[in-house]
Each structure stands twice: as C-alpha cells, then as structure tokens.
Amino acid sequence: MKSYIWLQTVDGSIQQVEQEIAMFCPMICHEVIQKGMGSSKNYAISLPQQVNPAMLSLILDYCRFHQVPGRSNKERKSFDEKFIRMDTKRLCELTSAADSLQLKPLVDLTSRALARIIEGKAPEEIREIFHLPDDLTEEEKLEPLKNATDDPRIRLLNRLYAKKRKELKEREKLKNVEVDEELVDDRSVDDLLSFINGDDGDSKGIKTSKSKKKNRRRKDLLKSTSAHEATKNHNKESNGLNSVCRSAEVGQIPPGVGATTNLQDVEDDIFPNKNEFDDGDIDDEIDPTLKEKIDREVEDFARRLNSDWPERMQEILSLGQEKKPVHLSLNGKGS
C-alpha cells in the first residue's frame, strides 16, 4: 500500500503526493519526521509561498525522476538538460521554490542555467532579460571602480566621478536656494541627466562661437596633461552639452559663487601637475576656465551613462594584468 504525503500550496489547494517523491525534498522530509505533519488532509504540510502549484508540479517531476536509484549519470544529465529548458522567469521562480524546499541539486541546476545566461552580458542586456528597471542612482553608478591594478586611467576616472558627485551635490543645494518652484526640489539628478543626454537642440546655434573657442582651449589643456588618454575624445560631444550646461546655470544657479569654490578643488585634484599646462590658459579669466572644466566633466559624465559604459568597463577591468598600447578607445558608438 502506497503512502502519501499531503501538501498545501500557498493558494490553499491541497494535494497528495507519493511519499518517496515528496521526501526527496529536505524541507518536506523535516516536516514529516520532526513534526509529524503531512499524514492526512487536515495536517497537510504548508509549503513556502514560493512554491505555487505550477512550481510544485515541476519540482515533483524532478523528484519523481531523480529519486529512482537505478538511473545512470548519463540518464540523469540528459533529463536535467531537457528539464531546464524553460523561460528565464520560470527558471528564477523555480530556483526560488527549490531553494525554499532546500532541494540543493535542483537549486544548483537552475542556478547554473541562470549563470550561463548572465555570463558575458552587459548590464543593460541583463536588465532586459530579467525585466529590471534601471534604478541605480547616479551616485551608485559613479561609485569608484575597484582599481585593482592601479591603472592611472582608472584613478583619473575615480577622481572625475568624485568631482561629479560633489558637483551634483552643489547643484542640488543651489537649486534649493532658488525661488523658482517648478525647478527647485523636483529636478532630480535623473532629470538633469536625461536633459543632458537628450536635449541637443535649441541653444546650439547661439553657442557655437564660444564652443569653438572652448574646443581649441580644451585641446591645449588636454595635450598637456598626463591623463590625456582618458579624456581626449571629448571634443565632438561638446556642442549640445555646452549649451545645456549653460542654460542650466543661467536659469537657476547664480554663476560663480558655488561653482568657484567647488572647482578650485577640481583643478588641484584632477590635474595635480599644473606645471604641465600652457601658461596661456592659466592667465585667462576664472569664469570661462571653470565653466570649461564643468563642461568637460559633464560630457565625461554623460558619456559614462550611455551604453558604451559596460564595454569600457570590461576593457578597463581586463586591462588589469597586461598593459596595452596607450590609446584606450573611449569613443565607442560616437555621439
């Protein structure tokens, strides 16, 4: 006479399952042996909420096959390969359900399948597959890269990010000072950034003459810094971003005041070897120089947030052991 174990899933439905199959799951085994549950309908074992009827059915299929002792490794492997052919969402649900029942071999199987899916993919691809929102804050995206090999390019990036973060905070503070309601507190960092990323249009025409001048000066500055490899491809991107930066400042932020104090630090941190600069640049007025630096950082910042990023990150990480020829291509997909 066959023995059955009674199981209840989170939706309230109860079913009976052959004992040897159900007992393959450690959690059920524990409930039966330690707590004496499952012997009748009234004492059905309440399964964890991750185990809905569909998942239970899959898990029982798995147990039903594997609990038979006589099977060869080849048979088991073949079964497993067919068994995990399901969509990603189900794989995740199954992992969670198997985990809650402590069924380690199945957790391993599904986890490996998910690991193979994740391997080698860029962050947006992973977000796409798992339907994840892009909800890392800009702060988090800018977190210092683990600079495992003391790559000077990574050090520069980290410094730029630190300045960006600081500047974002400054902007937040200064915006709050403004009386203009629509723009003050509601303008999140996200909004500001999508504005920077998206809006190339209007003010472009007006700003071109200044942009050209900035480009040339920027080139001069860039040539003379030791870290020029990391920043050299900015010139193309300047137009839209210059104008955005300017209009953002003019509309809301009193120019000069907050920005000045912030950027004194910027100069010192990012370009520690001031001697390398052309003297001509330093003789200029403070404002344009500072604004130019903000522009450069904003471009850099915006670039970091577009889809180049994962490839570059991978490059940078893989650059760890072997020093590659100097020119790291940062220009990716262009503007």
Partner: protein, 268 residues
Amino acid sequence: MRTDITNILPEECISYILSLTSPTDVCRSKLVSPVFRSAADSDTIWGKFLPSDCYDIISNASSSSSSKLLTSSMSKTQLYFHLCKNPIIIDNGTMSFGIDKATGKKCYMLGARRLSIAWANTPRYWRWKRVPESRFSEVAELKEVWWLDVKGTIETKILSPNTTYVAYLVYKFSSSRYGFEKKPVDLHVELGESDAGRTFRIFLDPSANIPQFSREREDGWMEVKLGEFFNEHGDDGKATCSLREVDNYTLKKGLIIEGIDIRPKDSR
C-alpha cells in the same frame, strides 16, 4: 505586468548564481541594479574565486611581511581585491604571489635571487643591490658580461590548473646599457622534461625601425614575453623560462633584472 526577478529571487540566490559566473561578470553585474550590487559583494562569491590554497600560501609569507598581518583580518571579498593589487612576498623573500583579477588564478613572480644567472656571484660581472621600486629586497644588475644566461623555473603544481600561463622577464636598463642593440637575445620557455619548447630571438634594446617587443609595466619596470605554456593538472613538473645570449662575442652591460613574472594569459 512584468515583474522583475528581484521580487522573485532572494539576494542569496542571486549571490549563488553570480558565484557560478566569473570575477569579471560579477564586477559588471554591479551596474545592473541595487540588488545585484549588493549581491555582488558577498563573501560567498569572492571566497569561491580565491584560489583554494590561498590561506596556506599566505601563512607561508615571510614573517617580516606586513601583508600577513593585514590579510589575516580581511573578509574574503577584501582579500581577493587586495591580492589582485598587492602581491605578497613568500618563500623567504624570493617569490611573490598574487591573483589575476579577471579570473582569480594564481600569479607568481620569481625574484632575481631565485633565478639561475650565470656569473651572478662574480662581482666583476654582476652586482646585487636594493632598489626602492622593486618588490624584492635585491635586484641583479649586469655590469658586464659576454655570457648572458638567465633562467627561472617554477613547479606547475603550484599554479592554477587548466590555465595558459605566460612568462615575462621583468627588467630595466641602466644608463650604461650596451650590447643589447647589437645582438638579439634568445627567449625560451619549455614545460617539463620532454618538451623542447619554443625559442624567440629578439632585440631587447632595438634601434629605430626594429620592432620593440618589450613594454612598460604599471609598476614602472619593463617586461618582455619569454614564452607561454599550458598547465593542465599541475603534474608536468617544472616550467623553465630563460633569456640567453651566449655567442660570446658581444659584451653586454646595464641590464637590471627584477625577476620573472608568471601569470595567466589575457583571454581577450
């Protein structure tokens, strides 16, 4: 309505899944979402990526090494990233041990004192000195020699299995360098007893228009690839790596040797 998996999978499950990928994948996954970020920092993951005998190796570190004290208080995650960047000195100061960040595989540098350098103990030919930019207490400086023969060996059993390793000579030239632009050197790597290995002949100090095979390392030294070998199970005996110029006609001077660096081949 799309539900994201972080509502379905607990963080520990995500950590376990990530531990089945690679160090590079895990670092990249930190840019996916806050839950992935948090899951990626788990000791479960980095403990798995550390070489299995990592702690044994550290315990054999030179007792004067401050790394030993530092590493004993670190979490597995911290230890992983620490060893990627800060090789520790082991074996009585003759070797250094580190980890390749992208793969978690073991890397070693054989210090100059551990190499077999012909005539190294004859002061007329070679000098031993301390330099601050070396990780070892001494480097070998060539004053002058005709017979240049530098060789290092490493037991494959201490290396990571199923890995292609590349050996580099880590060196610099001093201001008195001479001879290396006139005569090429032979670079050679062989595995075990029966392998004939491969030899490359290159100019270590090439004049203009001649290919430069050396490149600058991040620690300021130069390196030139001696060759590579595949370590399967670690039972192939020793790998032997050498640089030689033994035609005996050309005087050579001014080569400063830090050691031979042995690390996994860049898989890209």
